[in-house]
Symmetry: C2
Subunit: 140 residues, 2 copies
């Protein structure tokens, strides 16, 4: 759905691969539908943005702050061994930042998660529980 004021529309592949968690000041915070890792993405609602350096300075600072907020959220909710933070966009060009909680016993460790293993979507109840937990941590 295109926002009338900004012309921004979430890329349909990102929409299909993830679930909305919350709308932050600049970005949509979404949970990737892969139950193998607690994996968030941030999508700044800026039409046409493709690279971090396409953002204006205020947007860039805000995205940095929201990236850190997502990282702290994952740390608080899941106590990961390591956080992975990345803006890649080789496949889906719409600017999005991955923030992923990694564990030494997760199935891709120590490799990056992208393209490593087939996606394992959440079961309905697991998804509801995870979204609830993330939203509660965000509010708390």
């Amino acid at each position: 759905m295109t926002d009338a004021a900004t012309g921004f529309a979430l890329d349909p592949r990102l929409a299909a691969d993830s679930h909305g968690v919350a709308e932050l000041a600049l970005s949509s915070l979404r949970l990737m539908d892969d139950s193998q890792y607690p994996w968030l993405i941030l999508v700044p609602r800026v039409a046409g943005a493709r690279e971090l350096i396409d953002l204006d300075p205020a947007q860039r600072r805000q995205l940095g702050a929201e990236t850190d907020q997502a990282a702290r959220l994952l740390r608080q909710a899941f106590a990961p061994f390591k956080l992975n933070v990345a803006a890649l966009g080789n496949v889906v060009e719409q600017l999005h930042v991955h923030v992923i909680a990694r564990f030494r016993d997760d199935p891709a460790w120590p490799a990056p998660v992208w393209g490593r293993l087939p996606v394992r979507p959440y079961a309905t109840e697991h998804l509801a529980e995870r979204l609830h937990r993330l939203r509660a941590a965000l509010a708390g």
Copy 2:
């Protein structure tokens, strides 16, 4: 070598895998020794930092600014199709940010570069040329 004032020492694996380009205000800017991609890393000279969210707010903003500076440098010097920016640290825990110029005809495209293909170190002359080009673009 450990800095006497800060206690910071570059991780020996990062030192072995990369070449110094410049010392920025917070970070060492280094070229990864893989000639398959123009690939920079930024290593903030902050002892013990492991995650972006370990930095204090001023350091975090500065690292964001230096990351963008490295991205603009690669864009200017190499006109890539896409930039990849990532803080992973699953193997080398010392905080470092990758900034990589990607092309649709590079050998890993569209996959991320990590662990994809065996490293191809620069030949001596190619390395000297590349370091010169990066330093000139940084100064210019």
